[in-house]
């Protein structure tokens, strides 16, 4: 879910920066600026969810690693 939000945010960021590009080409500075602000907001959302996702996956993988190494230890002991 978090990853999806992150990807969606970056998608809208990409979309709005393309809009900013179009308005820049049309010399409409105000609308280009607004599109830039939208890009920034989407980017912040994307980065925040990216960080949350990163922390979550790291935490899960460390847990799994520990579980795995614990299982291996138990197996060695049983052998």
């Amino acid at each position: 879910m978090v990853e999806k939000i992150s990807r969606l945010s970056f998608f809208f960021a990409l979309l709005s920066i393309l809009v900013a590009l179009i308005f820049s080409l049309l010399r409409n500075t105000t609308l280009a600026e607004h599109a830039g602000v939208v890009t920034y907001i989407c980017m912040v959302l994307g980065v925040v969810t990216m960080v949350v996702d990163e922390l979550r996956t790291t935490h899960i993988s460390i847990k799994e690693d520990k579980k795995h190494s614990h299982k291996q230890t138990m197996r060695r002991r049983s052998v």
Partner: protein
């Protein structure tokens, strides 16, 4: 790797083109000095004797390291141009290699084969750095080049638990040498990048390895910080000392925090997020300072190309996410980017309100008043690295053959260089009005440098003529017909001699000397030149005047006045530069004198108090031979000063009101320290303005009820004032009431406000006492009743005293203790006279020279032989840092009595009949 480095080496010789055909890059405060290693020796001193009458420059200590390479080369080869070529190539290499090392160390593997090259080239060839090449900003380059290495050291420390001490030493050494000129504001991007990157790495280590590892890393970073402090102590210690005493003054000189915020707004005007995503937003681009900028603002292809890095990043992160392996670094760079954008955008909307709040309420943050230039690397670095990272992934995914990848990267890197085409032209050095920092220095400049060094000693003082020119911009600048333009005057760059000029550090005495030259008042000029130790005048006939300067004092007329000035003779000539020697008895650097005039009062211009006696700004000294004088304070005497003051009053905007609420939350009211009545009035005035603003902007209609409460409080506080404060605050309050009336005229609540404010304004009318076009108005507080006589710096008509009696200059009058007023009819544009009330007649003084030895700019030692003179004067600018030590009964004794002499110099009152050795140290 060898090919990569060779490629970067080839690119680093780009500056050779700039310096071809004998061109140098000087001016625009580039800070280059022709004196080589002597300049470094001067930088190691705390006292700079070259600027006017001397100044503390301990804050520039860091440049003694940063400018050492260029100084060594200049001294060894005798050519500043050669030194500039070598250091320019050096900075190109340093910037590129530092980024190369970061990327190559962090991102390894075949898919990232060309990533280090791309990032290095882009990190060096971009418009932020090109902007710095205008005047070869070594301070900026040093921190910019240091940033990737610092980031790498922090990263390695987090993920490789070895060599902490070695890394910490490298970190300290890095910033000890690449020290940003010891300018704390320039460290803005460094603080943000290092601070947030450290936090990210600590959190990453905590999540992976637990709290112990995170704490260990925190400790390691503490060692890094310690190393930084130790290696940078040589420039940080003097800076801290000076900041404690002068930060408030510096802020005040910029118009307070409000002035700094306005300044910041100018710099952030174009720093929108869209422009920052394009690695643009330079205020200079839109003010037509750089001729190349228009193409990048208007040309469609260049506009599209500017979006390529950000589109690459966003497309890349969407397509590939963050790949395993370097996740921490990539996520950290994303975090740095989103934070860096807010800081770099500064006061620009929509996050500008946060930045302004930081400036207002975080002590010391106001030093980052031009956010764009201070924080830009926090955007540039992550943008460059992330775009390279995703470009690598994109090319690796869509191109399987090595040849195809190599060709694609070749096109990208060459395209990058072509996009930044102004690097390969002279355009980066051109500035408005036909000036340039890339100039061919005429040979006569070097010839005059030699002449000045041969003829003038380090204790001589040279007045430059024509004076600096404020006609190009509002600041006094110097401009030459051959293109040079700077606030830092050329003669001071040429040689280690003392040059006086009307620049920002000017003393009133210099301004008066220029005025005397323009008006042909040779007698007063010679007297002031003698007092201030001016022994030479350097005429530069190749000065380019602004229209305003030409209209006021054309070169020809200045030259004519100089040629007809008595007691001058030509000492040397080189092209249009002429060195005149003044045949006057100039006062030596250190001398003894007697019969001083002691001046008190809230007024400047002491040196004009009387003839050539030494004037001391003190009242507490008990000197039998002294004459006491009280200076009269001219109230709002500058042209239209009252009108400007009144026009400068504005109602706080709704944003300011929001910020004032935050302020209340952050800093709860403290009644521990009782406030002065004047401070209480200022507080009430501020509340009144906020309340009126709420009423006018309609944010709080009920606020109208508070207006009479505040006005009544103002009335009662004002009634408590006496003496000078009463007049000053009558003027102040009147101006505020007038401004409130003006600011609320168009509001629908105008009548409500006027009903309260106007009656108060009327009661103040008869108390208002300010100068106007026809009359100069003075106030003076007489400490004790007695007979005083009037002294004036200029011939004046009778003065109306206390609106009752007229007295003329030299006439005596009995004055009671307390406040008195004086009014003087003023004619046209003549200089405002300085008026004084004196007790007793001024006696003829004598100046006795003292045998002394100059050991360095801030250290003199000598022998006092005459016991008849009770004052010792050092003709350097007054600074409490100067200390006099005497030897009495075999013991060293520091004299604490130290006061300002003649409005600029230092003076000590010697113990009765003292003869013997002395030392003066700064």
């Amino acid at each position: 790797m060898i090919w990569d480095v060779l490629f970067l080496l080839v690119l680093s010789i780009t500056p050779l083109y700039w310096f071809s055909n004998g061109f140098s890059i000087v001016g625009y405060d580039s800070g280059f000095r022709f004196s080589g290693i002597t300049h470094i020796e001067n930088l190691l001193q705390n006292w700079n004797f070259i600027n006017n009458f001397g100044t503390d420059w301990s804050i520039y200590r860091a440049f003694s390291v940063l400018q050492l390479p260029e100084a060594l080369i200049t001294s060894l080869t005798g050519s500043l141009r050669l030194a500039e070529i070598v250091i320019s190539i050096g900075w190109f290499l340093a910037i590129m290699l530092s980024m190369y090392v970061l990327i190559r160390s962090v991102f390894s593997g075949e898919k990232f084969r060309y990533f280090p090259l791309y990032a290095s080239v882009f990190y060096c060839f971009n418009f932020f750095i090109l902007n710095g090449w205008l005047n070869i900003e070594r301070a900026k380059f040093s921190l910019y080049a240091g940033l990737p290495i610092a980031l790498l050291l922090l990263y390695k420390e987090a993920f490789e638990n070895k060599q902490t001490i070695l890394r910490a030493l490298l970190f300290g050494l890095l910033y000890g040498v690449w020290n940003g000129g010891g300018s704390p504001p320039l460290f803005g991007a460094t603080y943000i990048t290092i601070g947030f990157a450290s936090c990210c790495f600590i959190v990453a280590i905590y999540v992976r390895n637990g709290i112990r590892s995170a704490l260990r890393l925190l400790g390691s970073y503490g060692v890094f910080l310690l190393s930084f402090v130790i290696f940078s102590a040589y420039w940080m210690v003097p800076l801290i000392g000076l900041t404690r005493t002068s930060f408030g003054t510096a802020v005040a000189s910029q118009g307070g925090i409000g002035g700094l915020i306005e300044w910041e707004k100018v710099f952030s005007r174009y720093a929108s997020f869209t422009n920052l995503f394009r690695l643009q937003g330079f205020p200079d681009w839109y003010e037509h300072i750089h001729p190349y900028a228009a193409s990048f603002i208007e040309h469609p292809i260049l506009i599209v190309l500017s979006f390529v890095p950000i589109i690459t990043i966003l497309f890349g992160v969407l397509r590939f996410g963050v790949r395993k392996g370097k996740r921490v670094m990539v996520v950290t760079l994303f975090i740095l980017l989103v934070i860096g954008l807010v800081f770099t955008a500064g006061s620009h909307s929509p996050t500008g309100i946060l930045y302004i709040a930081l400036m207002k309420y975080v002590p010391g943050f106001s030093i980052f008043r031009s956010s764009f230039y201070k924080f830009a690397p926090t955007v540039w670095l992550p943008m460059i690295v992330l775009s390279g990272y995703y470009m690598s992934l994109i090319i690796d995914t869509y191109g399987k053959r090595i040849v195809w990848k190599t060709i694609t990267w070749g096109i990208i890197i060459i395209g990058l260089l072509l996009y930044h085409y102004p690097y390969f032209s002279n355009a980066p050095f051109q500035i408005p009005n036909g000036f340039s920092t890339r100039v061919q220095i005429p040979s006569y400049v070097y010839e005059m440098k030699k002449e000045v060094e041969q003829q003038a000693t380090v204790d001589d003082r040279i007045l430059i003529l024509p004076d600096l020119d404020p006609g190009f911009i509002t600041l006094p600048m110097v401009a030459y017909t051959w293109g040079f333009y700077s606030a830092d005057i050329l003669p001071r760059m040429l040689t280690s001699r003392s040059f006086a000029a009307g620049d920002a550090n000017d003393d009133g005495i210099t301004k008066r000397m220029y005025q005397d030259i323009y008006t042909g008042n040779n007698e007063e000029f010679m007297n002031l030149a003698s007092i201030s130790g001016i022994t030479y005048i350097l005429w530069r006939g190749d000065i380019r005047q602004s229209n305003a300067a030409f209209a006021a004092h054309p070169l020809e007329s200045q030259k004519r006045m100089l040629d007809t000035m008595p007691s001058t003779q030509i000492a040397a000539q080189a092209g249009p530069w002429i060195l005149y020697k003044l045949n006057i008895q100039a006062r030596p650097m250190i001398y003894q004198t007697n019969h001083p005039v002691l001046v008190t009062g809230n007024v400047t211009g002491d040196v004009f108090a009387i003839g050539n006696n030494t004037v001391l700004r003190t009242s507490s000294e008990n000197i039998k031979t002294a004459t006491h004088m009280i200076g009269l304070e001219c109230v709002m005497c500058d042209q239209n000063e009252y009108t400007k003051f009144e026009a400068g009053i504005y109602l706080p905007s709704p944003n300011d009101l929001f910020l004032s609420k935050i302020k209340t939350i952050i800093r709860p009211k403290s009644d521990d320290v009782p406030k002065k009545t004047t401070e209480q009035i200022d507080d009430v005035l501020s509340k009144l303005l906020i309340t009126i603003s709420q009423v006018v902007y309609g944010t709080d209609q009920s606020a109208a009820e508070k207006i009479p409460v505040f006005v009544n409080e103002l009335k009662s506080r004002f009634q408590q004032l006496t003496g000078r404060d009463r007049i000053v605050y009558a003027n102040r309050l009147y101006a505020y009431m007038q401004a409130i009336d003006r600011l609320t005229t168009t509001s629908k609540n105008a009548l409500v406000v006027a009903a309260v404010v106007t009656p108060f304004q009327d009661t103040l009318t008869e108390l208002v006492f300010v100068s106007d076009e026809k009359t100069l108005r003075y106030i003076v507080t007489v400490p004790s009743a007695g007979i005083y006589h009037l002294v004036s710096s200029n011939p004046v008509q009778s003065v109306l005293l206390d609106r009752q009696t007229y007295i003329g200059v030299g006439q005596s009058v009995w004055l009671s203790e307390g406040l008195h007023t004086a009014e003087l009819t003023h004619f046209g544009s003549s200089a405002t006279p300085y008026l004084f009330f004196a007790i007793g007649e001024v006696q003829q003084s004598s100046v006795n020279s003292v045998s002394y030895q100059r050991k360095s700019a801030g250290y003199y030692s000598g022998l006092i032989q005459s016991s008849e003179s009770d004052i010792l004067v050092l003709n350097q600018r007054y600074d409490p840092g100067w200390k006099l030590t005497l030897m009495e009964n075999g013991k060293m004794m520091t004299i604490s009595k130290h006061s300002e002499a003649n409005g600029f110099a230092n003076a000590w009152i010697l113990p009765d009949g003292y003869t013997g050795p002395f030392e003066l140290r700064y």
